[in-house]
Amino acid sequence: MALLEVEHLRIEFPTRRGTLLAVDDVSFSLQEGEVLGVVGESGAGKSLTGNAIIGLLEPPGRIAAGEIRLNGRRIDNLPYEEMRKIRGKQIGAVFQDPLTSLNPLYSVGQQLIETIQTHTEMTPTQARTRAIELLAEVGIPGAERRVDHYPHQFSGGMRQRVVIALAICVNPRLIIADEPTTALDVSIQAQIIALLKRLCRDHGTAIMLITHDMGVIAETADRVAVMYAGRVAEIGPVRSVIKEAKHPYSHGLMGSIPKIGDSKERLEQIEGSMPRLTEIPPGCAFNPRCPRAFDRCRVERPDLMPAGDTLASCWLYAHG
């Protein structure tokens, strides 16, 4: 059984001018110890999907349909207090901006100890020892001293390490990492990716890694889901998606990334831009920009179907 199962998830935003469909029929699953990358452009619905899983959707956004199951137990309809116990204990979270994820008025030790004591029976002394161990594990030098420092005394990369320590402090089975390296410099980004990979290997933690950076996904993920306009365009093993993307959108996305090793004069470009949520076209959401669109794409919405090693929601791969 999969650790996390998301089935037919649909997230809506009721507004005065009608209901916006931000995530539309998204399904995927995540195995123990697996890293699933979720990529897409801003507004594709990748962060909303992550927030829905940890139960932190900002109202008026709401789950309108579908199910989210963790270890077979449904978690999308739990009352607030129940969900609070799962958050932290079973699902950890790492967000983009490490400064806003930490409380500036408490030392990092206090924040770690509070989280540890909320979810376990440890005494304050044990919790403090555990906090120092955690800081050392995420690679903060001088952890015994640093545990009493406040967030502003850490650099960006070190703060993100503290946030990761908070996320793993009670050994959750799943970590939702939403753009964990976006706010960091490349050399620091490499350190954080290496850290996440090591934790995943040592503890067997599954990670849902949400990012717009294909390079980070290529380095870290086992499988990748490409999202477009609130839907999954393609999902499959990371190597297949990067090397031979099947969906025209993921193919175009890969081509538009400048690469160090090649000296192409022009980058491939996808014409136009992602539609606004109010203007999603009928049929396949990508059809107006798709160079290979045909009549069926404009009227009928494709579901995920097998295309080589991956699943792509594209009529090009319909059999018969």
Partner: protein, 344 residues
Amino acid sequence: MAEMHAPLVKVAGLSRYFDVSAPWLNRVLDGQPRLILKAVDGLDFEINRGETLALVGESGCGKSTVARLVVGLYRPSAGSIVFDGVDMAGLGGRAEMAPIRRRLQMIFQDPFASLNPRWRVSAIVSEPIRAFRLLDDERLIVERVGQLLRQVGLSPVDGEKYPHEFSGGQRQRISIARALSSQPEFLVCDEPTSALDVSVQAQILNLMKDLQRQLGLTYLFISHNLAVVRHIADRVGVMYLGRLAELGPAKNLFALPRHPYTRMLLDTIPDLEMTGRQRTPVAGEVPNPINPPTGCAFHPRCPFANDRCRSERPVPKLNDTGSTTACHAVEEGRLPAGPLPVAA
């Protein structure tokens, strides 16, 4: 008039220091010294006509300060910026600057903050035309704005709209149209695609290359993204703590990097080719620029540093690949040419 083959921009010994001391009273009461942040510290480079020079580096390395110095938003603390034979640091008031200002324009990172939300796009794009009195007939201005909008891939009717009606990529196109409206020769682009999604970034980079070819533009391109720089630049300068570590033709710099910092930066780029290459994350972080390390600023993170690196600041020297490198180890030939050993 300068000759055509002379570099368009020549920067020599360019420095910019910021006084970040505590207020006077606190300094006197607590006996604190003055604190000077050397954001840019002795930079030399040239930009030839029609080429793209890119400056890369991590946050705090001073690359954006260079951009602001070159367009005249900051005055240099020392050194000179010669634009087509005229030293900009020596120019006095607005009147003397104006003819130069028309010939250089800037594109900023954040297309949401750099466009006035209360102005129509046509007013934004025509502002430089009006400010420099390039056209005085209203009908001609409207025509020119329409032509500029078409040139950047928008439609003349978009001039009637306000910035909020556009996406990030389209707004960056408006910024480019505004920059082009005074018919400049030189564009300073400070992270023009960093706020954009990759597919939009590809559109903007292609547009910038097309415009460069059509109009013979010269670019100073500031970015932290090495892959973007590899794609757009003819020559690349790698900055570290306000100094140039290495400067050379893009092709050689990426294929045969010499400076240990350049090598480490290249090594940290996530690998899209999926060769399974083992990456060596750079140990440590960029030091505080208020109190930079002595000698070579990179020595605390450098696996090849010796006593000379710790005490003597290296000078940029031309090496065998056609790049200039500021590194004692490269100069002395004690740096292996092959791949880097794993940093401690």
